[in-house]
Amino acid sequence: MSVHLTAIRQALQRLAGKPLTTLLSALVIAIALTLPALGYVLIDNVASLARGISGKPEISVFLKTEVPAERVKAIETRLRANPQVAALRFVPRDEALKQLAARGGFGDVTGALADNPLPDAFILDPRNDSPASFEALRAQISTIPEVAQTQLDSEWVERLHAIVALARSTTLLLASLLGTALIIVTFNTIRLQILTQRHEISVKLLLGATRTYVRRPFLYFGLLQGLLGGLLAWALVTCPLFIVAPQVEALAQRYSIVLAIGGPALWQAGALCAFAALLGWLGAAISVRRHLHDGLVD
């Protein structure tokens, strides 16, 4: 344990020894991480915005006009018993007509009708959000003989799923590319360190230091530098969001949308820092392995 503490202390001394270089390297890492991290947070917020605009997707079930009241009751019971149905609302044909009449411009039209042409209807909230489940439930309900038509409002869900999936893939690709950049940055930083410390390293090897002993401070350096970059990236993601959040929320309010823009959750911030630290460690490991064995050090 003490050898690890010694290595961590050495790594911290190296970081503190050149504060400007440390800050600049950490900033490069932070900027590389900020883009995908910001993308991830924005995807989360866009998804929540979409939910706010459209509400939960529903299936409208329209019955045939001549269905007797007792059959309507039986169908309601059957639908309520279906485990895929989370909630159910019955809209009688008279109420539907009243609602239509209440809408601007339709009052005269409904007044001129001799009979109510609208059917009884049920509005279902499916338990499962996936488009495939909607389709399955709709197909199941369509087999009821008294059902004239089912209307599935799932297209937007499919589109949203596609957009979010595309955005997530793009973010993942961006994260991979910039993660590689982070490894390269750390690789080069460690390479320069090994070059400047080659005398010290060769003296340590001469005095009986194992390669693990020599490697360890560099690995901790990469890890700590990555962690520092991760913390800065978290700050770079969170601060702009907190600045723009009130304006966006106020704008959403004007469209009667309750929107709460949030930065990364604590676990997300932790994952970001851990990811950055891991990449820093990886870059350092590759660099040390490469440069301690290629004759750079005696």
Binding site: S2, V203, L205, L206, L207, G208, A209, R211, Y213
Partner: protein, 217 residues
Amino acid sequence: MIQFDHVSKHYPGGHEALNDLSLEIRHGELLVLAGHSGAGKSTLLKLIAALEAPTAGRVLVNGLDVGRMRQSQVPYLRRSLGLVMQEHRLLMDRSVFDNVMLPLVIAGQTPADAAKRVRVALEKVGLAKFETAMPITLSGGEQQRVAIARAIVNRPSILIADEPTAHLDPAYAREIAALFRSFHAAGVTLILATHDDTLYSPYGARRVELAHGKLLS
């Protein structure tokens, strides 16, 4: 005990540093390696410390075949040796104390124990008052004494020195030689490569002369 068994060492480019050399160094012996520059003295010492590997033959240090040992075993061999190089190889950005402490830190000694041993080693080489000094502020002889303190701080049974007095004036050279003789008197096996064997020959040293990688005497 150290044994060279028909050892040859060829460097890339064709230079033959040692040629079919056989030599035995007994425990507690004081061995002086003499010879002109390029005779193979430094190569012989480097082979003992596994800083080089023989091209042919075997080098045995306390029964271990140095040329064939795994890379992971080499550090433990070096910890059992005390090495004093011609060019000191001190860390100029660390104090005298930290330089001498380095082998103990590498060996995983606790700071308290290490500090005690560092002070004892500095006392032995007469640098107790210089522990906070930076090596750059010391004379060549004092720097060499720091290197000696660093070599003995781990209490090695074998002490190897490559031209330890090469760049020192005669007074400093005599001081350093006396220091080495005192370690030998304490039971340490001492192997020195030097141009000036008169510093050791009157004190029971075995003199071995090399020329063109071969043993002359």
